[in-house]
């Protein structure tokens, strides 16, 4: 088997799977579910093969596969991974089967379409992470909007249409600006290189030579698109709505992977393509990130809806990631990458667990619950672990990411001020407040609602199968993060070198 | 006056008149009949142009099959006749006719301006040869074999589609 074709196989698996799903009968729900699960597991296995074949010491893109697509414009199907994208590919292929499994009972309406959408979504997400052609990237970036729109719009809650449209328009708005910037960039490249190109590796050499003023605009266009996706304060308001209305699986994928596409974009495009502007704007962006951290935590604290609480906590967590990226030290960027995975795992787990409750009682308000520790001890324990991971308890994954980001930003030469870290670290306090408060009101105390006694049952085997793999990684990252840090180290270094070589020297 | 010219004048005026008649008659069945007439005159024009095969196909497929289908549907639905062509939305309809006329004038101007006959020297023999069923068949089964097959599939899909759409209800 040709190694370089592996990524294409990875991409093809869910494509073929999603087409095949259409041939099932609508009534064969169980069969469709198993089929979707099997396809996503195959994708996971392929990504594992890629992981084991990956050379961790090499900072270049690997498993490159390039086929000319639109010859006249030099656009090609060009895929490849480095450590950062591979980690996120693994996260995607890891979470997709779990979310599919989690919807076994929750989705009864139009299972066929749902499975199709999920697999299609996986294609989009994988494509975003492995594209090395900026045009191809854009196509996947947009393509993944469609299934997500349907997942929220069809299987969502009461205000699903509002949420879906809001999600769509917010994201679309940013990405249109990005499209303009992409075209401009390709045209500029043609004036410089003599041929039109959208090849990312070539553009890495082009981007930094753009005149300063124009580069700021290009950076702004890319950044806005990614910042909306992240979402960075104050562009975050689509997130709570989308999360609350989306079905559990949608929330998990949304939080777990989709938001990472924004931060991934920042690392892959904003930093190396426009290093000068990135350094210039870093303090401003970091201020927004820090505001996001505190703001997200404070607003999260007073939510009455569990899903909304977790959604706002995402704003806070992603603020850490953005801060880490724009602090531009090895520690902080590595921390940011790890934190992306962490957030995917722990927030994913929290959404899954809120989903478990919702499936049984159809209530998400915190005030409805109380004292469920007595009724569902296993669930309470599991929720506790997910919560602890989210608030960054040492020994679990969240700590590693936050610690690296904070320590990196503290000594960052780009930010050059302690205040970022000091304010960001206060988010650690608030995280404990909102999570523990929620936990206390939901889990502890006397059983508040008689209904709960009839409706609530403890985690079943299927739900444990979904949650346990996530926990394994939560602990793994917390105890032995080297496995993951090593994977991204070379790539992080090379991106920062790219930035550093065009601006101040960040590596003294 | 050559026979060809006479034939052309006759057929062309029939085609023009029937087309105008078709869009102005109130009763759809009459419209359909005029359209058939139009198709026949077109077939004659094709013959004048040495396109024998196409002329025959025009008669069989268009005037025969397709128009019968139209008439059949007209009978089936038995829709009422439009009482007055300009009963409502008169401004819009006049505007529509005006636009169409304007476009015609423009196209006519362009045709005369370009006057392709000045650059093209017609070759009678080649023209006759091109119109034969043999020449067309040769093209269809060699260079255009894939579009030809696809067209076959298209017809199949259309057949099934029409059946599904026209059926009363999905079972």
């Amino acid at each position: 088997m040709d190694q370089n074709l592996l990524l294409t196989y990875l991409l093809l698996t869910p494509i073929i799977g999603s087409v095949l799903v259409l041939f099932f009968k609508q009534e064969q729900k169980q069969l469709i579910r198993w089929f979707g699960l099997a396809i996503s597991l195959i994708a996971f296995v392929i990504s594992l093969i890629i992981y084991f074949g990956f050379d961790q010491t090499n900072s270049q893109f690997q498993f490159i596969h390039q086929v000319t697509w639109i010859k006249s414009l030099n656009i090609s199907y060009h895929v490849g991974v480095d450590g950062i994208s591979l980690l996120l590919v693994l996260l995607t292929t890891f979470l997709t089967p779990l979310t599919l499994l989690s919807t076994w009972k929750a989705i009864e309406k139009n299972v066929k379409m749902f499975t199709f959408s999920m697999l299609f979504l996986e294609v989009g997400m994988l494509g975003v992470f492995i594209s090395l052609d900026i045009f191809l990237f854009y196509i996947f970036w947009e393509a993944m909007l469609i299934p997500m729109y349907f997942i929220i719009g069809i299987w969502g809650g009461e205000r699903k249409i509002y949420a879906a449209v809001k999600f769509f328009i917010f994201t679309m708005f940013g990405s249109l600006l990005m499209l303009v910037a992409i075209i401009w960039l390709a045209v500029y490249a043609s004036s410089l290189l003599g041929h039109f190109t959208t090849n990312l590796i070539e553009l890495y050499k082009v981007g930094p030579t753009i005149p300063h003023e124009i580069q700021s605009w290009m950076f702004g266009a890319f950044f806005l698109s990614f910042a909306i996706k992240v979402p960075l304060f104050p562009l975050h308001t689509w997130l709570p709505d989308a999360h609350v209305e989306a079905p559990t699986a949608g929330s998990v994928i949304l939080a777990g992977v989709l938001l990472k596409m924004g931060t991934y974009g920042l690392i892959r495009f904003c930093l190396p393509l426009f290093p000068q502007s990135a350094v210039n704007f870093a303090p401003v962006i970091s201020v927004l990130a820090v505001i996001g951290i505190i703001y997200g935590a404070l607003v999260s604290m007073v939510q009455t809806d569990m899903k909304k609480l977790v959604a706002y906590s995402s704003v806070s967590h992603l603020g850490f990631v953005v801060l880490g990226i724009f602090a531009m030290t090895v520690e902080s960027v590595q921390g940011a990458v790890i934190q992306m995975v962490n957030h995917g795992l722990s927030t994913g787990a929290l959404f899954l667990l809120v989903g478990v409750l919702y499936e049984r009682t159809h209530h998400r308000e915190i005030s409805f619950y109380g004292g469920i520790a007595k009724l569902v001890p296993l669930y309470s324990t599991v929720l506790m672990i997910a919560m602890l991971s989210s608030i960054g308890l040492p020994g679990l994954n969240g700590f590693i990411g936050e610690f690296l980001i904070l320590i990196g930003s503290f000594k960052s030469a780009v930010l050059n001020s302690w205040w970022f870290t000091i304010f960001a670290a206060s988010g650690v306090i608030f995280a404990a407040v909102y999570m523990l408060w929620m936990y206390q009101r939901v889990v502890f105390g006397e059983v508040k609602n008689e209904e709960l006694k009839h409706e609530l049952t403890d985690m079943n085997l299927r739900e444990m199968i979904v949650i346990v793999p996530i926990f394994i990684f939560i602990i793994w990252i917390g105890v032995y993060p080297s496995t993951f840090l090593k994977l991204t180290e070379a790539s992080t270094q090379s991106i920062l070198q790219q930035v550093g070589s065009y601006t101040i020297n960040l590596f003294k | 006056m050559n026979v060809q010219i006479i034939l052309f004048i006759v057929l062309a005026s029939v085609a023009a008149i029937t087309s105008v008649a078709m869009i102005t008659r109130k009763n759809p069945v009459i419209c359909a009949v005029f359209l058939v007439l139009n198709f026949f005159s077109l077939a004659g024009l094709y013959l004048l142009l040495n396109a024998q095969f196409i002329a025959v196909v025009q008669v069989i497929v268009y005037a025969g099959a397709i128009m019968v289908l139209f008439l059949f549907v007209l009978m089936l639905l038995n829709t009422e006749t439009e009482h007055k062509l300009f009963a409502d939305k008169r401004a819009i309809k006049f505007f529509a006719i005006l636009i169409s006329a304007f476009v015609f004038v423009q196209v006519a101007y362009l045709i005369f301006h370009g006057s392709p006959s000045r650059t093209l020297t017609p070759d009678e023999a080649a023209s006759v040869k091109a119109g034969t069923i043999q020449a067309i068949g040769e093209q269809l089964y060699t260079n255009y074999i894939i579009p030809f097959e696809v067209a076959g599939f298209l017809l199949l899909a259309a057949t099934i589609g029409a059946m599904v759409l026209a059926k009363k209800k999905f079972e």
Binding site: - | A12, A32, L48, A51, V73, K93, P116, L120, S127
Partner: protein, 102 residues
């Protein structure tokens, strides 16, 4: 054939096309509108045949053949749609079929 300048054929074709357009624009009966479209297709066919004949090249006529195929398919499906609409709306008056509006 050579006695007649090809412009005449083209003018006839343009005339028929514009009549067809006018018909599409002013008629209300969906079936008649549909027939007008057929008229427009035929005018296009006439152009193709004219050029094919004057160039002494059969490809134009091959295209006409394809156009006819498509026209046939289109007629079948289109009429079926009209029947379906008629069944639902009890009319083929396109003034009353304004589902393009959201």
């Amino acid at each position: 054939m050579s006695l007649i300048p090809m412009e005449y054929y083209l003018i006839l074709s343009a005339f028929m096309f514009c009549v067809g357009v006018a018909g599409v624009l002013i008629r209300r009966n969906a079936i008649v509108v549909f027939m007008c479209i057929e008229l427009m297709l035929n005018s296009a066919n006439l152009t193709l045949v004219t050029f094919s004949s004057y160039l002494g090249n059969s490809i134009g006529q091959v295209f006409v053949f394809f156009v006819m195929t498509v026209a046939a398919a289109e007629a079948a499906v289109g009429l079926a749609i009209i029947i379906a609409i008629f069944r639902n709306k009890k009319t083929v008056n396109i003034d009353e079929i304004n589902i393009f509006k959201w």
